[in-house]
């Protein structure tokens, strides 16, 4: 695997992780996805 391919993959992983966290924070979440408490009720 060339160094360039490696760098592209690393870059994609980091941007992907960042995007995931940002989009997740923006979405109105249920409790079961935020804290690990398992409460299924929507937070009104």
């Amino acid at each position: 695997m060339s160094a360039t391919v490696q760098q592209i993959l690393v870059g994609m992983a980091v941007i992907g992780a960042l995007l995931y966290l940002v989009l997740r924070a923006r979405k109105k979440k249920n409790c079961d996805s935020g804290c690990g408490c398992g409460t299924k009720k929507p937070l009104k």
Partner: protein
């Protein structure tokens, strides 16, 4: 058009919530119902019509469920005001159908005791007699009728049983006002009579009105007296006289009614399995478990046993997960060419996620025990013994459940505070709930205890962990007391708690809940923790130094994460932390368990070894510039105390923002908890140093 028949009798149907009031209301009125609102409040007013046994038209008013006429919510205020004849447009009812749950008679009779004081005829609908029978209760109906002085109709409203008898009772030509009621102390009766004379000309029962005014809390009294200064002065004077004669005007009638209720219950309700003293098996256990001294010892003993099991039982599965994680890291390391990609996969993803997943067995055991204690009925006893302590700092009895839920996670705990009616009491509970040690702190405690006392037996380790949980509880109580005295003042109401009988826990249910927790935990590790691990790896790896022969340590120091650690080092140095621990603190602001994964990443990136060592070994071997170990016992304790007291959870911040509807409270909470954590860790580290510990 046919003329509406003249109303023969106006009847209110009232009782505690969930007693089957609405079922009886619907069964009597059918479709002849009307729904509106009481003036000035958003409480639903439900009325209906039906015909008595002889065809006479009756109007039925379904009152909101209430536990007593000592109101705590707008719903309860409506019930009370209608019965006192205070609501414009709603005439005072001619009779009350008091709906009681036969299986909970001792609790529900309190409201009947208050109805009997209203001077309105009462008919008791004793609902759910089938449930009471299944629970082994035998109720002496004739005895109950005589003790209350009112008709008692046994019913199973859901099956329509007892409806005909109820209609017959309501259709009688005259309904008697009962002469039975709780005996109030003579001094109190005298003051009630004097006040009643002042209230002459009042529409409803003057005696009930006088009783109510005398026993109101100060803030409510001002509103109820509607600015009548002569009346207010007289009430205050009467209260002073009562206090001088050793009577609490608020508690005295409550105590008298409860004494009366237990007298009635003792003579009319019999339980199967009761001994000659009327005590059941549960009562015998409760004599120990709710005892002032033994209760506490049993509580602490049970918690200690729980933590011992967490260490002993979880050891083997944790070792398996650790070994599997190391094998995966080794295999991946061998199959990827050296470079950033390998570092990301091995040091970032596998180490980051793996170091959190390792703690899954401990978290599951914690939930197993919590489930066991809850299902067996012990949690209600724990609430009972804790209430003594909680009321001392002014915490509301209802705060216990939210605080207890916070041991699992602060988020459901904070959501559970919605049951607390008083805003100030609720906010105090929200502010201190995250001080309870949640399951995300377990990995931090466990790794620090492993470093602190590697060779000690499990009882010592469990003892240290129990101490961490206790520090959280004590801090929560102290802070709650402080908030109640300063920024969130309010009176503390009494706790009325029902102790359910002990039951054998249903293991299937507990295992099911553990499985749900495991799924949530693994999902979180595979999503949020994974994403955070990748980002942390990037922060700890870039930018790289320009010198090509830089050591791994220099690369780490040069990275953004390393610089952040160095930047906060002056602030955390007095706590015994170096800049690498500082990175862990900053990274775990989002979630506490990230501390362990960050430390794993830091030491892995720095070591850059092919074989992935155990994090505990790496931390134990970590040295400062002068060669002394970084993780001394004192530093480990200081870190644990910091994590007990610090907020370090973005999800909690978000939920506090939502529940308090302002940014002010979550920001205040972060500030006070971080300050508390810093001071706590400082005292432990510097105090320990002064005492000669290292």
């Amino acid at each position: 058009m046919a003329e509406a028949p003249q109303i023969f009798r106006r009847i209110a149907i009232a009782g505690n919530p969930n007693t089957g009031k609405s079922t009886i209301f619907n069964a009597l009125t059918g479709l002849r119902q009307k729904v509106g609102n009481y003036p000035g409040v958003t409480v639903e007013k439900k009325t209906g019509r039906f015909f008595g046994s002889h065809g006479e038209a009756m109007e039925l008013l379904d009152l909101p469920g209430s536990y007593s006429l000592q109101v705590r919510s707008p719903d309860e205020a409506v019930s009370r005001d209608v019965l006192l004849g205070r609501v414009p447009g709603t005439p005072r009812p001619d009779a009350i159908i008091a709906v009681l749950d036969a299986s909970n008679l001792d609790r529900h009779l309190y409201l009947v005791a208050q109805f009997l004081e209203l001077d309105i005829p009462v008919i008791v609908a004793l609902n759910m007699v089938d449930v009471a029978e299944k629970r082994g209760l035998t109720i002496d109906l004739l005895g109950l009728k005589n003790s209350l002085g009112v008709p008692v109709i046994p019913m199973v409203a859901s099956r329509g049983q007892g409806l005909i008898e109820l209609k017959q009772a309501l259709s009688r030509a005259t309904l008697q006002v009962s002469d039975q009621r709780a005996q109030l102390p003579i001094v109190l009766e005298r003051e009630v009579a004097a006040l009643s004379r002042m209230l002459k000309g009042h529409a409803g029962s003057v005696r009930s009105e006088a009783m109510l005014l005398l026993s109101l809390e100060d803030d409510r009294l001002a509103a109820e007296a509607k600015g009548d200064s002569t009346l207010l002065t007289e009430i205050h004077a009467a209260r002073e006289r009562l206090k001088l004669s050793g009577l609490d005007p608020i508690a005295a009638p409550v105590d008298a009614r409860y004494a009366w209720v237990s007298e009635v219950c003792a003579s009319t309700v019999h339980r199967q399995g009761e001994d000659s003293h009327g005590l059941t098996f549960s009562d015998h256990i409760d004599q120990i478990l709710t005892h002032k001294l033994w209760g506490w010892l049993a509580f602490v003993g049970m918690m200690a046993l729980m933590f011992v099991c967490i260490f002993v039982v979880a050891q083997a599965p944790m070792d398996w997960i650790r070994a599997a994680m190391q094998a995966v890291a080794k295999w991946t390391g061998a199959h990827l060419p050296p470079g950033d990609l390998r570092s990301l996969v091995v040091d970032g993803v596998i180490v980051g996620v793996g170091n959190v997943v390792v703690f899954l067995p401990q978290i599951l055991i914690l939930f197993f025990f919590l489930g066991l204690l809850e299902d067996s009925g012990y949690m209600a006893r724990a609430a009972f013994i804790m209430d003594r302590l909680m009321s001392r700092v002014g915490l509301h009895g209802k705060s216990f459940v939210p605080l207890l839920s916070s041991f699992a996670c602060a988020i459901p705990g904070i959501m559970a505070t919605r049951t607390i009616e008083n805003r100030n009491d609720r906010f105090v509970t929200i502010l201190v709930a995250p001080l309870m040690s949640c399951s995300a702190r377990l990995p931090v405690y466990a790794i620090m205890i492993a470093l602190l006392m590697p060779a000690s037996n499990v009882w010592s380790k469990a003892g240290v962990m129990l101490c961490m949980y206790l520090i959280g509880v004590i801090a929560a109580f102290v802070m709650a007391g402080l908030f109640k005295k300063t920024i969130l003042r309010s009176e503390t109401p009494m706790l009325l708690l029902e102790l359910p009988p002990y039951r054998a826990p249903v293991f299937r249910g507990i295992v099911q809940r553990m499985w749900e927790r495991a799924v949530v935990f693994i999902r979180r590790a595979g999503t949020v923790i994974l994403a955070l691990s990748v980002l942390l790896w990037a922060l700890l790896s870039f930018p790289k130094p320009t010198e090509p022969d830089a050591t791994q340590s220099e690369i780490l120091s040069h990275s953004i994460g390393g610089r952040m650690g160095h930047a906060i080092e002056p602030v955390i140095a007095p706590l015994g932390y170096d800049w690498k621990i500082g990175i862990g603190l900053v990274a775990s602001f989002a979630a506490r368990e990230v501390f362990v994964s960050t430390m794993g990443q830091i030491y892995n990136i720095e070591d850059a070894k092919e074989d992935n060592e155990d994090l505990r070994t790496q931390m134990r071997d970590e040295r400062r510039a002068d060669g002394t170990p970084v993780f001394t016992p004192l530093t480990c304790l200081s870190i644990m105390v910091f994590y007990v007291l610090a907020m370090q959870c973005l999800s909690t911040v978000a939920i506090v923002r939502r529940e308090t509807n302002s940014w002010r409270w979550p920001l205040f909470q972060i500030a006070y908890m971080t300050a508390l954590a810093w001071i706590g860790a400082f005292v432990v580290y510097q105090g320990g140093h002064l005492l000669g510990f290292r």
